[in-house]
């Protein structure tokens, strides 16, 4: 009797195991085909020799990485010194993406808070309105932003008309224009995860804090922000990472002075440069930086929760 019970219990769990292996297949196929294969290809290509009109020759070389980090003169025969051009582009990209992320956070958090504190029936309408611009292609949105802020665009025309300024602000082709473009492109990716966090926030925690002699700002700092932190972190990652690799906003709004990583990489594959291994190497370096930042964050998180 007891043995029978055990056997039947075992059979059931085996059936589940059998099914779960089959059910896992699509997920593994996805990861393999869409994640491991392209990233693997990218890393492999970065160690290959370039073909002049695009493409690669299957010969191992570190030339792409060497070109990224070291300057060997015009003909490649001088003693190597540090090449600052690409490091500078990376640094500028990180800075631009950082500014855009902070701007998204400063605007996105109050927006998400506002939506999450509306009546449940009107929340979806607000969220819907936030996402409407994103039904339009990113290229079109970025071009319209260009038309809005250029010297003869409506913004400057209006400011001139009101007399607030005496000549156009000269916003286009500046770092500010790129930051504005990135901010506009990725704002919903900040609003939505923060909204999800704030919506779950238990407002009796704010009451408890006020009851325990905490002012509104202290409550925000000591209770609200730590509790909704997962949403803030998710939002920052979702804005920062694509901003770092963006090429539309810097190309269209920034002009040549504000070259970013995304444009650099794009140029290697599509544009005049046509250097696939170098583009792959720059992508690999970018990926390593992002992964390193996320890993450091994740490790600190774990330490925090173990404390």
């Amino acid at each position: 009797m007891a043995a029978g019970a055990t056997t039947s219990g075992g059979t059931v769990s085996n059936i589940y195991k059998g099914n779960s292996a089959k059910l896992m297949f699509p997920a593994w196929a996805m990861i393999g085909f869409f994640l491991l294969a392209p990233v693997g290809m990218m890393i492999v290509y970065s160690f290959l020799t370039k073909e002049f009109r695009g493409g690669v020759i299957w010969e191992f070389t570190l030339a792409a990485y060497d070109q990224f980090f070291f300057d060997r003169g015009l003909f490649g025969d001088e003693p190597p010194s540090i090449e600052w051009t690409y490091i500078g582009i990376f640094w500028r990209s990180i800075w631009q993406a950082g500014v855009a992320t902070i701007a998204c956070l400063l605007i996105g958090f109050p927006t998400a808070w506002f939506i999450a504190t509306r009546r449940p029936s009107t929340r979806s309408a607000w969220l819907f309105m936030i996402t409407i611009p994103y039904w339009v292609n990113l290229l079109i949105r970025t071009v319209s932003m260009k038309f809005l802020i250029r010297d003869t665009g409506p913004l400057n025309e209006f400011l001139l008309w009101t007399g607030a300024v005496s000549e156009p602000l000269g916003l286009i082709n500046t770092n500010f224009a790129v930051q504005l473009g990135l901010f506009y492109s990725y704002l919903p990716f900040m609003v939505l995860p923060i909204y999800a966090s704030v919506e779950r926030y238990d407002f009796s925690l704010s009451e408890a804090a006020a009851d325990l002699y905490s002012s509104i700002w202290t409550t925000l700092w000591l209770v609200i922000l730590p509790v909704v932190k997962p949403g803030i972190v998710a939002g920052c990652i979702l804005v920062f990472v694509p901003s770092l690799g963006a090429f539309l906003a810097p190309d269209l709004l920034g002009g040549a002075k504000t070259f970013m990583i995304g444009s650099l990489i794009e140029e290697q594959f599509k544009g005049s440069a046509g250097n696939w291994p170098f583009g792959a190497a720059a992508s690999t370096i970018l990926l390593s930086i992002v992964m390193a930042v996320l890993l450091i964050y994740a490790r600190n998180q774990n330490k925090g929760s173990e404390r």
Binding site: A208, A210, Y213, P226
Partner: protein, 357 residues
């Protein structure tokens, strides 16, 4: 009661939400070192009143004084009262100690003093070993104690408790009642306790304010409320009762002379402000004795019997079809009449009471 002994003085407090009035001019005083309960069904305004004392609700008119000082306009963080919330509202990202120290650190305690006091309070609620845990790692009962410790730690002038036992299971709830009462004695401050559970109110309170529809119906010690309810609402809400339609002949010196259904004359205590005419008599089911038909104050027919363990509940019907309930103690000597048999009911004089409405 001199003003020095009054911890919280509520004077004519009105709270409106748009066209809905949650509190219709409530006035009451809560003494120092008193376990005071606001009791009533949901929607009666008890929680609104508690939240008004805490400062979470702005009253529409009226005055709230704390130890003689007008606090009506103060925001919650400037009121020296603390609250134990219904769902505890513990800060999930902080340890038990940090939760308990929160209020002290915000109100100017030094870190060392606050840490010492936190230890002391956690010992008091028997959670000394749990200081480093997060709220999610505690059981419901333990979380409830942390909430209590957190609210008591900054030494509030008054402790407010918003149905803090409702999330606990029955056994735990009964144990915590006793602890809460002794904690109140130990700390020596007024506890204002909100509940819809009459048993909770009767077992813990020094005084109870029974509320309904935004008004205080009756304030008194548990025996007063139970034995001398002033109106139908209080009689019906606190415990079980039988309400009989009676003809009141006269009322003098708080005693009413009346005739019961069936014509028997009867004399019993009456609520104040009560005159002659039609009225309601409240009789507790356990204060009715059975006797032979015709020998008691009322004659009735048994229509049903319900076994309740400690008691046996008897449903009876009077000649005019009014239904009543009688509770008999379940002992070996109790004779339980058969269904359909005719019985006489004898009312204990002190236990029946003529209500004001």
């Amino acid at each position: 009661m001199t003003s020095a002994e009054i911890a919280v003085d509520i004077e004519n407090v009105v709270k409106r939400y748009g066209s809905f009035t949650a509190l219709h001019g409530v006035s009451l005083s809560i003494c120092e070192n008193e376990f005071f309960t606001l009791l009533g069904p949901s929607g009666c305004g008890k929680t609104t009143l508690l939240r008004s004392i805490a400062g979470f609700e702005e009253v529409s008119s009226g005055t709230i004084r704390l130890k003689g000082e007008d606090i009506t306009g103060l925001p919650p963080h400037k009121r020296p009262v603390n609250t134990v919330f219904q769902q505890y509202a513990l800060f999930p990202h902080m340890t038990v100690t940090d939760n308990v120290m929160f209020g002290m650190l915000r109100s100017g305690w030094s870190k060392t003093d606050a840490a010492q006091r936190a230890n002391q309070v956690l010992e008091m609620v028997q959670l000394g070993g749990f200081a480093a845990r997060k709220p999610a790692q505690l059981s419901g009962g333990q979380q409830q104690r942390v909430a209590l410790a957190r609210a008591l730690a900054p030494r509030p002038a008054v402790l407010l408790l918003d149905e803090p036992l409702s999330a606990l299971d029955l056994k735990l709830r009964q144990a915590v009642r006793v602890e809460l009462k002794s904690l109140q004695r130990e700390t020596g401050i007024a506890f204002i306790f909100v509940t819809h559970d009459q048993e909770e109110a009767l077992t813990m309170s020094d005084r109870i304010a029974v509320m309904s529809n935004g008004e205080v119906q009756q304030i008194g010690a548990p025996p007063d409320i139970y034995e001398s309810p002033v109106n139908r609402f209080v009689a019906d809400f606190i415990g079980e009762t039988n309400l009989l339609d009676v003809d009141v002949h006269s009322v003098s010196d708080g005693m009413a002379t009346l005739s019961l259904p069936g014509g028997h004359g009867f004399t019993c205590p009456a609520a104040a402000m009560r005159g002659a005419g039609k009225g309601h008599l409240s009789v507790r089911p356990e204060r009715i004795a059975l006797c032979a038909e015709g020998a008691g104050d009322l004659d009735a027919t048994v229509t049903g019997r319900v076994y309740l363990g400690t008691d046996i509940q008897l449903h009876v019907r009077l000649a005019d079809d009014e239904a009543m309930t009688v509770r008999l103690q379940n002992s070996e000597t109790t004779i339980v009449p058969e269904e359909g048999s005719a019985v006489g009911l004898k009312l204990e004089v002190g236990a029946a009471r003529l209500l004001a409405d």
